[in-house]
Symmetry: D2
Subunit: 240 residues, 4 copies
C-alpha cells in the first residue's frame, strides 16, 4: 500500500506530503481502501456512512473498553482493542451481512430472498430497530445523502424492496435500519461486503477513543464494577 | 521451544507423547517456562501460585469479557482477549512489581526500600487489600505451602520485613497480600519478575473461559448493559 | 463462580485455601468449568487434553504475539491477547467443530455425516494433518490415555468411524488428528462443544507466555519485521 | 457523549442527522473529542495530523494483524485489535510522550529539558528517524500546514528548540520527526497529551483495515509463517 525512502513517503502512488493538509481523514481512508481519491460525491457519501458508524452510545463495546481502561490506564490501545472485539456477529456483523445479502443476490427478487431467510429461520439483516420506531431516522438521512450524490441505484432499491416484502410476510413493521442503509450504500459505492465490517471497525475506534477520554475525566467503570460485584457476591454467598 | 516432524512432536527436548497422560497442565507450564520439569516440591508450589492467580470474582476483566461475548458470541477467543487486556498496571502488574522490587533490591534492607517508595509517593507493591483485612487469607496459606516445600528464603523474608517496615512508618496495617506473596515465592523459585505478569495472564485466561461458559448459560451482560445505558441516556438527555 | 469476604475466598463452593497446595492448575480448571473436582481418571485425561492444546510451535498466533511484544514490551497481556485472537475458525475452531459434529450427530451413522459434509463441500473437522503423516502421533497417545481412563466410548468410536468413512469415499488417508481426538474425548468427558474453543484458548495462553519469555531473551520479531519490510518496500517502489 | 430516542440520535448536543452528509469523518472525530465542531483552520490541521498517523507501511502492527487474519478470517475486528495492541511504548507512545514533555515543561527552557533526559539516560521523544534522514519530510509539511492555520506557537517553538539543543549536546543530527511534530501541533490545538496515543490508535485502525483488505486479496501472512516456521524448526532440531 505504501513505501518510503529517506526523503519521501508514498501512499497508494501519492506523495504523502501532497495529501497532508489537503485531504481529510475520511477521504484518506477511501484512498487506502479504493486505491484512489474519492470524487466530491463519493467523499460526501463515504463520510456520511463513516460518521454514522462511529456510534456514540454506551454500547457493550464502550463498557468493555471502559472496564479495560480501569485495569490498564497506561495502555489505551488495549482498551480500544477490547472495545473493538465486541463488534462480532451481533454488533459488527450486520452491515457486513446486509451488504453480503445484497451483493450475492442482486439478480434475485425480494420475495425469494426473504423466503430463504424465513426458511432458515434467520432474521433478514438490516431491518428493524429496538429503539428507533417506526423509522430509523438515520436511514432517511443516509438515503437522502446517497440519492443526492448519485448512489441510489439497484442495491438501495433492493434493500427497500426486501424491507417491504419482509414487513408484508411477517405482518409487522420492518423498516430498513441504519446498518441496512449502510450495507446498501456501500454496495452502490463498490465496496465489497468483506470490507464492510472493517468500515464499522475503523469508525468505532474513533468513538471508543472519545469514550476513553471521557472515562479518564468522568469515570463510570469503577461504579459499574462496584454494583455488579456487590450483587454477584450477595448472590454467590446465598447459594453456597 | 519445540519442533515437529512427521511422526514426532518435541517440546523442550521431551517427546510430547511422553508428557501426555503423565504431566499435569501446571507442570507442563513450568516446563515451558523453565526448560525442565519441576521437582515434586516445585510442582506443588508452582501450582499453588497458579491456582491463586486464576481469580474467580467478577473483576473488571470478567465484565469486559462478558460484554465482549455479548457482541461476538461466535469468537470466544476475542472475549478472553478482551478480559486479559485489563490486566495492566492496576490489576496485572502488582505481582510483577512486587517481584521486581524484591529481585532488584534483594541486597538492600527493608527500611531503605520503603523509604524510597515514600519519597516517590508511590505505594509499596504487594501490601494491603481493600477487602481481606486484617490479613489476606491466601497469603497465610501460600507462605505455608512455600515453606513446607523449601521456598521460604530471602525473598519471602524481605517481603515480610518490607510489610512490617511499611506498617510501622505509615502507622497502619499493611500486611503482605496475595500478589506480594506470589511475587516473593516466584522469586524464590527463580522466575524473573519479567514473567510474573505472564503467570497472572495464563492463569486468568482459565478463569475467563469459566466466566464465559457461565455467561452462555446464565447471561448477565445484557442486564448490565441495559442498566448502564438507561442511566447514561437519562443523564445525557437532561444535560442537552 | 466465587465470592469473598474479609477472611475467606470461596470458589465453586470450596474454600480457596483448601485448594491452594492441594489441587493442580489443570484440576482447578476442571473445577471451574464443571463445578466439581475431577476424579483421578478425569484428572489424567483432562490434563492430557490440555497439555496437547498448549501448542509450542511457531504458529501464526505466536508470530502475532511476538510482533506485538516488539511494539509494546511493557504490556505482556496485550501480546498474549493478540496471539489468542488468531485462534478463530482456522486455528482455534477445529476442536470445537469436531466436538460439535460428534455431539449433534451422535445418533447418526458415519456415512450420513460424511455425506453431508461432502454435499456442502466442507472438510470434515478433526481429520488429516499437513505434517503428521500417515498418523498424527498425538492422536494415538491421546486415545490410549482416554481408553486407559474409561473415556473411550461412543464419541471416540464415532470419530474413528468418520475417519474411516471419509478416507474410503475420498480415496485418501484421512486419519483422526489431535484436534479430532480432543473433540471426541472432551465429548466423552461431558464438555459441551461450546467450551472446546475455550479449552484451546486457555491452554494456548500458556504457550504464548512461554513464547514471549523466549522473545524477551532471544528476540526474533525485529528480524522478521526487517525482512518483510524490505521485500514489501522493494515491491512497492517497483510498482509505483 | 450522546443519547437517542425513538426518532432522534444526539451526539455532543448535535442532531446526528444534521451531521450526516455535512461533516467529514475527521471533523466528527474532532467533535467527539473536543465537544464542538472544528473551525476551518482546526479542521485542516487536525485532519493533517490524523492522515499522517494512519501509517501505511508494513509495521509490526500490520504483520500482527495479517497473521491474526490468517487464523481468524471471519473476525476482522480481532485482526484490527491485534494490530492495535502493538501500539505501546515503542510504536504508539512517542506522540503521547512528546506531547507530554511539551505540556509538562512548557514553562522551562530546552536546555534544562534535554539535560534531564540525558541525566536519566532516556532518549528525548519526537526526535530522529532511522530512515528519514537528515529530515523527516512529514515534519516539514506538518509544520507548514500548522503555521498556515495559526497553530505554530509556543509548543512548536519549544519542540524545535529541544531538537536544536539535543543535536548540539549529542553532536549528531536529531531533527524533529513526524511524531514530535504531531505532539507539538496537538498541544497547540489544546489536546491533552493523554489523548495523543488515542489519536494514533484511531488513525491506525484505518490503516489496519486497509492492510487486511489487501491481505484478503494478496495474502502474505501464510508465506511469512512458512518461512519463519521452517527456520525455527531447523534451529530446534539442531539444538535438541
Amino acid at each position: 500500500m505504501g513505501w518510503s525512502s529517506a526523503d519521501k513517503v508514498v501512499v497508494r502512488g501519492h506523495d504523502l506530503n501532497d495529501l497532508i493538509g489537503n485531504v481529510s481523514l475520511g477521504d484518506f481512508a477511501f484512498l487506502e481502501l479504493q486505491g484512489r481519491l474519492p470524487t466530491p460525491q463519493e467523499s460526501i457519501t463515504f463520510n456520511a456512512i463513516a460518521v454514522t458508524l462511529v456510534e456514540h452510545g454506551v454500547t457493550p463495546s464502550a463498557i468493555a473498553a471502559r472496564m479495560t481502561y480501569l485495569g490498564a490506564p497506561e495502555a489505551m490501545q488495549g482498551a480500544v482493542a477490547a472495545g473493538l472485539l465486541g463488534m462480532g456477529d451481533r454488533f459488527g456483523g450486520p452491515a457486513e451481512e446486509a451488504a453480503r445479502m445484497l451483493q450475492e443476490s442482486i439478480d434475485r427478487d425480494a420475495s425469494s430472498i426473504v423466503a430463504r431467510y424465513r426458511e432458515q429461520k434467520r432474521p433478514v439483516p438490516g431491518l428493524g430497530h429496538p429503539i428507533h420506531k417506526p423509522v430509523d431516522p438515520r436511514t432517511t438521512r443516509l438515503f437522502e445523502v446517497a440519492s443526492a450524490n448519485g448512489f441510489s441505484g439497484r442495491y438501495v432499491e433492493l434493500m427497500r424492496a426486501i424491507s417491504e416484502e419482509a414487513s408484508r410476510v411477517s405482518k409487522r413493521d420492518l423498516p430498513v435500519n441504519a446498518t441496512g442503509a449502510i450495507g446498501a450504500i456501500a454496495s452502490e459505492m463498490g465496496f465489497s461486503w468483506r470490507v464492510c465490517r472493517g468500515l464499522a471497525v475503523m469508525a468505532r475506534a474513533i468513538g471508543l477513543v472519545a469514550h476513553l477520554q471521557e472515562e479518564s475525566a468522568e469515570p463510570m467503570a469503577a461504579e459499574i464494577w462496584a454494583r455488579v460485584e456487590e450483587e454477584a457476591s450477595e448472590h454467590g454467598q446465598k447459594r453456597d
